[in-house]
């Protein structure tokens, strides 16, 4: 699974991208647990961030495919 971190999430993770060697789909909650285990600084951002997989926002009940792409998206500020 390819993980993308943006803006404050990249600051907290200390990187913009990484690969996770997972073989099963992850729920959004499982995804967050793993992200925070790897980068504890993300815990404070979790309430404010959304998760996207393959360019679509996910809701709590959805899953991320093991060969998919997942992104942690802080509140946006474009324009």
């Amino acid at each position: 699974m390819t993980i993308l971190y943006f803006a404050q999430a990249a600051d907290a993770a200390g990187c913009a991208t990484e690969e996770w060697p997972v073989t099963l789909p992850l729920s959004v909650d499982e995804f967050w647990q793993e992200a925070i285990r790897r980068h504890p600084g993300l815990a404070a951002l979790r309430p404010h961030c959304r998760i996207a997989s393959d360019c679509q926002y996910l809701t709590e009940g959805q899953q991320i495919a093991p060969d998919g792409e997942a992104a942690i998206l802080p509140p946006v500020s474009g324009g």
Binding site: L4, F6, A7, A52, C55, Y57, A71, L73, P74, V76, S77, G78, G79
Partner: protein, 126 residues
């Protein structure tokens, strides 16, 4: 309906087009201001999740087209470091009448600031 979206690291340029079939053209240009959080700055750096930003802008415009039936939409958003005074975004909507064009520009900007994955990540102090 025509939708053109560009998310780019280059300076924005949206040349005038021949809008003869439309009665109204509304264009919004968002410019980097010289102040950010009460500090004088010389530039702002934007970061984006480019493929999702492009896709989400398309989705928003398609949704607005269902609601307001405009003729065309052109949106450009710049990423990277943008000097003060230069455009970060240009939105142009053409429609039969002015009300739809103004409304779509305004609603598009509101929705961009909620759903389009682009961030101001750094202000460059003067």
């Amino acid at each position: 309906m025509i939708i053109e979206v560009l998310v780019t690291n280059s300076p924005l340029a949206l040349p005038d087009k021949n809008h003869i079939p439309s009665g109204a053209v509304a264009r919004f240009t968002g410019i980097v201001r010289p102040e950010e959080n009460d500090a004088q700055i010389s530039a702002l750096t934007y970061e984006g999740y480019e493929p999702m930003a492009t896709q989400t802008i398309h989705h928003i415009l398609t949704s607005l087209h269902r609601d307001y039936g405009f003729d065309s939409a052109r949106v450009q958003h710049r990423l990277g470091t943008i000097p003060v005074g230069e455009a970060a975004i240009i939105v142009e909507i053409t429609s039969k009448h002015r009300a739809a064009a103004f409304t779509v520009v305004s609603e598009f900007m509101d929705r961009l600031k909620v759903d389009v994955p682009i961030w101001k990540v750094k202000a460059v102090r003067s």
